[in-house]
Each structure stands twice: as C-alpha cells, then as structure tokens.
C-alpha cells in the first residue's frame, strides 16, 4: 500500500481499523476530536460501530463493557478526559481485560489549555487510576509510529489482557505526515477469548469482576498482576537511540515530539563538532532503564528535555543512579524551538 498523507489523529483511527478494531466509544475533546470524527465517517465502510458517549466516564465504561465481550475496542481522549476515564482504566486492569486508550496530551493542570504538553507522563506511568496496577504506555514521535504502535497496542493488550495507552501530544495528533499502514486484520480471524462474556451456552458462566472481598484472593490477584508486569518489563521494553558514540559531550533524554526537536538541535551542533546522543524511550512503562543507563555511561553530562516541569527526569535518574541529570522544558503548551534547545545544550556543555 502506498504512503498517504494523514493527520496523526486520523492515522490512529485508521490503524485501529487495520488492527481489527470495529468499536469506538468516545467523547470529543481538543486536540483529539479528529479520531472520533474520522471513525464516525470511516466505520460504516467496514461494518464498524461508533458511539458518542455522554461523557468520558461513560465512554470508558462502554469500552470496559466492550472489552468484556471479547472484542477489540478503542477510545481516545485528551488529558482532562483521561482523568475521567481513569476510573474505568483501573477496573479494566483489575478485571484483566484488554483495552486500548489514547491520550493526546494537552497542557494542564485543570482545564489547562489545548496546546501540546507532556505533562501526563506521571499519570500514565505512575498514577493511571486507583489501586496497585500498571499499564503499558507507548509513546510515538511521528505519525507513522503512531499508526504502528496502535497496531502493536491491540496485540499487547490481548497478550497481557491489560490496558495499553498510547501517549501522544497535540502535535502528534494534529500533524500530517506520510504513513503506510500494515495489513488489514480480519476481526473474525483473531484468537478466541474463552474468558469473554458471550452467553453461557454449553459452559459454566464467565464472571468478570474486579471485586475480591477475600483479602487472600485479592492478594493473589495482585501477585498475578505483578508477575505480568515483570514479564512486560522483561520483554516489552522498546527504545530508539540517535547519534550515540563512546565519548559524548552530552546525552539527551526525550520522548515523543521533544525527541524530534532534540534531533534537530543535535544535528546542528554535530556540524560544529559537538557530539550529543539521544535516548528516546518508546515504552514509557516499562521504562528501558538498562539501555538508558548504558547511554548515560558514555556521556559527560545528561539532560532530560520535556514539555513539562520535569517528569520523565525521575526515570532518567533511576536509570543513571548517582549522576546529575539536568533539565530543560517549557510548559503551558509552549513548544521550544530547536534553537532554544540547542542553546540550552551549549550552555550546559560549556558550564
């Protein structure tokens, strides 16, 4: 299939269809509304089903129900909406059902603004709802990767019967870039889910719940979930490196859009003989600590650049214990330019 020019939000919708998803329950919020708009238009062509819910709370619980029925299902939202969805995300994790959520992050806190931000990093990786659980978090930095990760997200959600979140920002959602989609998955050919609610015909009833009043049973669930998270940590870490060498002046840590701004700054300084490498986690949970630490060991100085006041920096510190980790970021929806970032790098290297 040829490359097509598409908005990130639309590519997310199309990729979900390619992954065999035929159900979307959502609620409009800037800057992700193109996803529901795209699917509302596109779904009838593939016998898909779109519902505009009355709220994000309802949308996420519709997803929860849909997942219980064993079908691939998607919802997308942006920061304030994701906070409302955190209820259902926790329930999905506790019930162990596969769902894919997309957060096209906008600046906060509160109603905040509608411009790009990475301020939901902590929420996604640490606090995506009440209780003791983790979700897989995938962070694309271009439209092609957003599409690829959506396809991957559905597979991972099924594999681990766990929520998976795609964490992007307003730029990823609004930007148009060429994208080439993978093969269309026929939902009919997906593996059976014997645990799903399909009617107890010729079998014992299936019960899907996250309520376990017996503390021993609940602890057993917690331990089973933990084992699942350990397995994710063992095999699902993904990352990208750029311009890594053995004796770098600086190692830059960035995810999503910021990694691309960082690359431009790195290229510019390379022309002046300054060696800077970039480490970009693609999975924010599980975070690729070992690989991030190895990059740190080759650099004189470290910096995390983010569209926040510094959230991923915590993970960089965990990856490089004992090292000083510097920070540069803008907030409020302001995206620093490559020149801003370059100057920050220079200042740090020369200090």
């Amino acid at each position: 299939m040829a490359r097509v020019l598409m908005k990130g939000n639309e590519a997310i919708g199309e990729a979900a269809i390619r992954a065999g998803c035929r159900f979307f329950f959502g609620y409009p919020i800037t800057p992700q509304s193109e996803v529901p708009e795209y699917l509302a238009k596109r779904f009838p062509e593939v016998d898909g089903h779109f519902i505009q819910a009355e709220s994000e709370v309802a949308a996420s619980n519709m997803i929860y129900g849909a997942a219980c029925s064993g079908t691939r299902v998607l919802t997308t939202s942006s920061s304030p909406g994701i906070s409302l969805m955190s209820e259902a995300i926790s329930y999905c994790a506790g019930t162990e059902v596969p769902v894919v959520f997309v957060n096209i992050v906008r600046a906060g806190p509160g109603l905040g603004g509608i411009l790009p931000s990475q301020g939901d990093y902590w929420q996604a990786t640490r606090g995506m709802g009440h209780g003791d659980f983790r979700i897989l978090v995938l962070a694309p930095n271009c439209v092609q990767e957003a599409a690829d990760l959506i396809m991957l997200a559905f597979d991972l959600a099924d594999k681990y019967t766990n929520p998976v979140m795609i964490l992007g920002d307003g730029i990823i959602g609004q930007m148009m870039e060429p994208v080439e989609f993978g093969e269309m998955v026929d939902p009919e050919t997906l593996p059976e889910k014997p645990w799903a609610l399909t009617g107890a015909k010729g079998r014992e009833p299936n019960i899907l719940t996250s309520l376990f009043l017996d503390p021993n049973v609940l602890e057993a669930l917690n331990q089973r979930l933990l084992a699942k998270y350990r397995q994710m940590e063992a095999v699902e870490k993904r990352w990208e490196t750029y311009n890594i060498s053995d004796n770098m002046d600086l190692a830059v840590y960035a995810w999503g859009t910021m990694s691309r701004i960082g690359k431009t700054a790195i290229d510019e300084l390379k022309e002046r003989g300054i060696e800077i490498g970039l480490f970009r986690p693609i999975t924010l949970y599980p975070y690729p600590y070992e690989a991030a630490g190895e990059v740190a060991s080759k650099a004189k100085k470290l910096i995390s650049i983010e569209l926040s006041t510094g959230q991923m920096i915590d993970d960089v510190r965990l990856a490089a214990p004992g090292r000083e980790v510097n920070f540069f970021g803008r907030q409020g929806g302001i995206v620093p330019t490559p020149e801003d970032v370059r100057d920050e790098f220079l200042k740090l290297i020369e200090s």
Partner: protein, 260 residues
C-alpha cells in the same frame, strides 16, 4: 404423581444469597431468573452487576456476568450489547447507583434507545453502606446522613425515575412494580417478561423499577417494611406502566424520511 409447580429456576444458582432476611432483592432475582428460563434466554444472557447491595449478584445468576463501576452499568451494558447485539443484556441497579452517581449513564442509555433491560431496585435508602440517604429517600424519612429526616429544602424531593425517563422521546418500555405485596408479584413478573421480550425482539430500551424494602436499614421487621413501602412509598411511587414502545411519538416531531 406429584407435579412440581414451583421450584428454583435454572437461571438462579443453587446458593444462598447474602441479602438480609426479608429483603425483596431475593424475589426480584428469582423473577428475573424465571423470565430468562421461560423465554429460553439464559444461554445468551449477560448481566451487569452494580455497586450496592447487589454487587455480588453475579454469584447468584447462572449466566455470564460483569461487575460495573458505581453507576456505570448502563455504559458497560452499552459496550457489551453494541459489540454483541445477539446477547440479552441486563443491568441490575439500586437507587444510589442508578439515580445518583449514574444519572447521566441511565438517562443517555435510555435516550439512545439502547436495546438492553434495566432492573432498578428502589428501596429509598443506601443499603450496603449502612443506611445513608438515597436520591429516592422519602421526605422526612430518617437516614444516617439525614438523621432528622430528609429535608426537601436542602435535599430536594425524591427522584422519580420512571416519571423522568418516560418523558424521553425515544420509544422505550418503562414500568414500576413491586415485590413487597404478594398479589403484585405476578404483575411484576409480567412487566419483566415484557421488558425482556421487547429486548429479544430488538425493539427498545426497557426499565422495570421495583419499589423495594430495606428492613435492616429502615429498622423494621420484613412484614412491617412491606407495609411501609405500601403506605409511605407507593403514593409517591405509583405502580404501573409509564411508557410502552407502542405509544405514539409526541406531536411536532419532524422526522426526516429515510431514503429506503
């Protein structure tokens, strides 16, 4: 030869419930199970349990079941029914779940005309959490969070779910019944039968409200509680059918003709 004319329905598991003695939840469960049996729906039914006294309902029904977050059963049921339209889906919700925290979800599920069935148990109090005020608590009725009785000046009047939902234009089946009066139980079953039948025919959203009792938190014995439901609740929560899918649409609707 003795013919058994009344025994446990197949759709109800052979287990004892956790409900208090005399709680009409048990009768409501049984009636649903009998209807599922009689209509032959058990093997394609999925129930959605609420948060509230019926939180463990999935342990009692002999069909697939999911547990919803508080108030979200209609949203969850929407997800299940839309993904698998051949299933028979019902939610089982109390007054706090449906008429307080889940008001938006029930209202919009009804308004979208979701083809599932809602069993709404209204006992005018929060049972599971220990007798707090419900949106359906009667004026001057005492509860632990309105120890001097519900003050309508500050808490408003009790919410009448059937009256509100039956004002929605989208065709639906809305009925209020009770299991607190023996002779009303057959009528309650009739309403449930209709509700599930309409769903099986893919006709409309259906909701059956049960005026129910809470002997424990009302502080009455079961019989007294049934009498109180009749004397103090039913004048305000009258029984009957409030809406059927055969009702004419209101005048003034300009329905756009389809191009079929």
């Amino acid at each position: 030869m003795i013919e058994t004319i009344f025994s446990r329905p197949e759709s109800l598991r052979e287990v004892s419930t956790h409900y208090c003695p005399g709680c009409t939840h048990g009768i409501t469960h049984r009636l649903i199970a009998e209807v599922l049996d009689e209509l032959g729906l058990r093997e394609r039914t999925v129930g959605v349990a609420p948060v509230g006294c019926a939180v463990l309902a999935y342990n009692y029904f002999n069909c697939d079941f999911a547990e919803a977050a508080h108030g979200r059963a209609p949203a969850m049921a929407t997800g299940i029914k839309r993904c698998r339209p051949n299933l028979i889906v019902f939610t089982y919700q109390g007054d706090g779940d449906l008429a307080s925290i889940g008001t938006a979800e029930i209202f919009h599920a009804a308004n979208r005309g979701e083809k599932f069935t809602v069993i709404f148990v209204n006992n005018a109090i929060y049972g599971m959490t220990g007798g707090q005020m419900a949106p359906t608590t009667m004026p001057n009725q005492k509860a632990t969070t309105c120890p001097f009785g519900r003050d309508v000046e500050t808490a408003g009047y009790p919410v009448r779910v059937c009256e509100v939902l039956s004002k929605i234009t989208t065709p639906s089946y809305i009925a209020r019944v009770t299991a607190a009066v023996p002779k009303e139980i057959p009528r309650a079953k009739d309403a449930l039968r209709k509700a599930f039948q309409y769903q099986a025919e893919n006709r409309c959203f259906s909701l059956v409200e049960f005026v129910s009792t809470c002997p424990t938190n009302w502080g009455m014995n079961p019989l007294k509680a049934c009498e109180w439901a009749v004397s103090d609740m039913m004048p305000y929560y009258p029984l009957g059918e409030f809406k059927t899918p055969d009702d004419p649409l209101p005048a003034g609707l300009n329905l756009i003709e389809g191009d079929e």
